[in-house]
């Protein structure tokens, strides 16, 4: 758990970067820090592992004030990933990834096992990559190694500063998916900086929206999208926020919300799987691929038909209905 308690940061020259921030990152959750460039995301992140000093207030890591901890020891228990991967060009992939275990004095067998496990986790062949150097890898592969390196000593907490920000959109989307998969398995407590609201909605258990060093809203992605607290949040998430919020729900959420009759009328109506997001469902209907889609679960059972009308009803019930 990471707790920010009335945290302030003033840089030399009276630059107020962080203003009275209070927030808690619960155990095992991924909290996304988002906001315009220069709003203090990186500063807030770097105060946790003491790469920046805290001007006033306190940050507690599992209940302990970070300023009272031994910096070096503490940092070895926190995974740290940055945008430009920060791999050491003079070291092999294996040396890079095992740097913290090496510093912690792990024996060779333990390091080898851990290396193989992590390479499997990020989908790279351990034997093929072990002796290679960072510059022999693609950008996506380098970033995967950067993430795996942060996980090397199995730290309970991870700090990630726009880890996928430098990748092209297709690779970025793939790494986001992969990392979500990994997080489901490892359940780290993560503070993750992003400047991309779509990434935040996709990855975050919760989202912190910052402006000029102040927290504008700290909520689940659905709350941020459906109930922006003020005009700034509203503008930041964009006028297509309703559409964005549809990506948070699946067809399954929709048929569970209504009692629908199975649709056996026509055999040639197209089907849609229950795990498809509602955002995709809408575009399928809008693309006039069909005016209705038969909902199918993973066992192939028929759960009735999905129409624009039904989507609208769901929207009112789930999203607007919570208002006020």
């Amino acid at each position: 758990m990471i707790q920010f308690d009335n945290v302030n940061k003033v840089y030399e020259g009276d630059v107020k970067a962080i203003n009275n921030v209070d927030l808690t990152v619960p155990d095992g959750e991924m909290v996304i820090l988002i906001g315009p460039s220069g709003c203090g995301k990186t500063t807030l992140l770097r105060m946790v592992n003491q790469l920046e000093t805290i001007s006033s207030g306190s940050i507690l890591l599992n209940g302990e004030d970070v300023t009272t901890l031994d910096k070096i020891e503490m940092r070895r228990k926190i995974g740290y990933v940055i945008q430009s991967n920060g791999l050491f060009p003079n070291m092999t992939i294996e040396q890079n990834m095992m740097i913290v275990p090496q510093l912690l004095g792990w024996d060779r067998a333990k390091k080898r096992d851990r290396f193989n496990y992590l390479m499997d986790l990020i989908g790279l062949n351990p034997d093929e990559f072990k002796k290679r150097f960072p510059h022999e890898l693609s950008g996506g592969q380098q970033q995967r190694i950067g993430v795996a390196r942060a996980l090397a000593a199995d730290p309970p907490v991870m700090l990630m500063d726009e880890p996928f920000g430098a990748l092209d959109p297709i690779i970025r989307a793939r790494l986001q998916e992969e990392f979500l998969q990994i997080q489901r398995e490892v359940k780290k407590t993560i503070l993750f900086v992003s400047h991309d609201i779509d990434e935040a909605v996709k990855m975050g258990d919760k989202i912190v929206l910052l402006r000029d060093g102040e927290v504008m809203q700290y909520d689940t992605p659905a709350e941020i999208l459906n109930h922006p607290k003020n005009e700034f949040v509203n503008e930041f998430v964009g006028s297509d926020r309703v559409l964005k919020s549809m990506s948070l729900y699946t067809v399954k959420d929709l048929y569970k919300a209504f009692t629908l009759k199975p649709n056996f009328e026509s055999k040639d109506i197209r089907t849609i799987n229950e795990d498809t997001s509602l955002r995709v469902a809408i575009s399928m209907i809008l693309n006039q691929e069909a005016d209705q889609l038969v909902i199918e679960d993973n066992e192939g059972n028929n759960h009735g038909s999905l129409t624009m009308d039904l989507l609208e009803q769901f929207l009112h019930k789930e999203i607007k209905g919570q208002e006020g």
């Binding site: 910096k71 228990k77 430009s84 150097f133 510059h135």
Partner: protein, 249 residues
């Protein structure tokens, strides 16, 4: 265009080697190298003095300039950089003859004065290359290292120095090659070296002395240059060669 350049380079190379071969054939046929084989004992003695001056001064300069370069690149002492580089620069801007004279003023006549002068002369190239090498390490890489819990010493040893090694060796090479030429002036402070024959040749208008002294000095400079280029190559971590190639591509 490319093959044209290659062909030109080849022609130039052939002409150069032919000229060099012609020079040596002429030199030997005219007995220009005769001092070497007529007085082999003296030749070895002068060569020994020359080499001693160069390596003693170079070694001392490495011992001082590399740690100094490390010192001024530490964030806490960064403010001292301009001062230290300026002082080292001073040693370089003063003409070599004047540095020799000053050294003689301090240590009197002898080998020590020559070593001191060349030591002062070597500081700047080694210092500058050490600083440049350490500065060439990406800030993000250092930040990642710090964030993962490496101590400052571990960052220096595991990240900064391996990345700076090529540059440092290049600085040592530059310093030594310059010094091999400058060491010919050591004769003027009574430190011996092959300069003895060169100045004798000038004074007596005897080209055999001049060439018996100057040619070995030149060959020594070329040999040291090649040796250190080789060291640069073998001591560069493989990952850095790949990094450089990736950046050039």
């Amino acid at each position: 265009m490319d093959t044209f350049n290659k062909r030109t380079a080849l022609v130039v190379k052939i002409l150069l080697w032919t000229a060099i071969a012609a020079f040596f054939i002429w030199g030997f046929s005219q007995g220009m190298f005769r001092q070497i084989y007529e007085q082999p004992g003296l030749f070895l003695e002068l060569l020994g003095e020359h080499v001693l001056i160069i390596f003693a001064s170079g070694f001392a300069a490495v011992l001082i300039a590399v740690p100094l370069g490390i010192f001024v690149t530490r964030p806490a002492f960064r403010r001292t950089e301009w001062f230290i580089v300026t002082v080292a620069n001073l040693g370089q801007t003063i003409p070599s003859l004047a540095v020799l004279a000053l050294a003689m003023g301090v240590l009197g006549i002898g080998v020590e004065a020559a070593i001191l002068a060349l030591f002062v002369y070597s500081l700047l190239p080694i210092l500058q290359n050490t600083i440049a090498g350490l500065d060439s390490v990406d800030e993000n890489t250092k930040d990642a290292a710090r964030g993962m819990g490496l101590t400052n010493l571990q960052i220096l040893w595991k990240v900064e120095l391996p990345n700076a090694v090529v540059s440092i060796i290049a600085g040592i090479r530059t310093a030594l090659v310059i010094n091999i030429g400058t060491a010919a002036l050591a004769y003027l402070v009574g430190a011996g070296g092959l300069g003895v024959w060169i100045f004798t040749g000038i004074r007596l208008f005897d080209n055999s002395y001049l060439i018996s002294g100057a040619v070995p000095v030149t060959l020594l400079a070329i040999a040291v240059d090649l040796l250190f280029r080789y060291l640069e190559r073998v001591l560069t971590p493989k990952g850095l060669i790949l990094a450089r190639e990736a950046n050039e591509a």
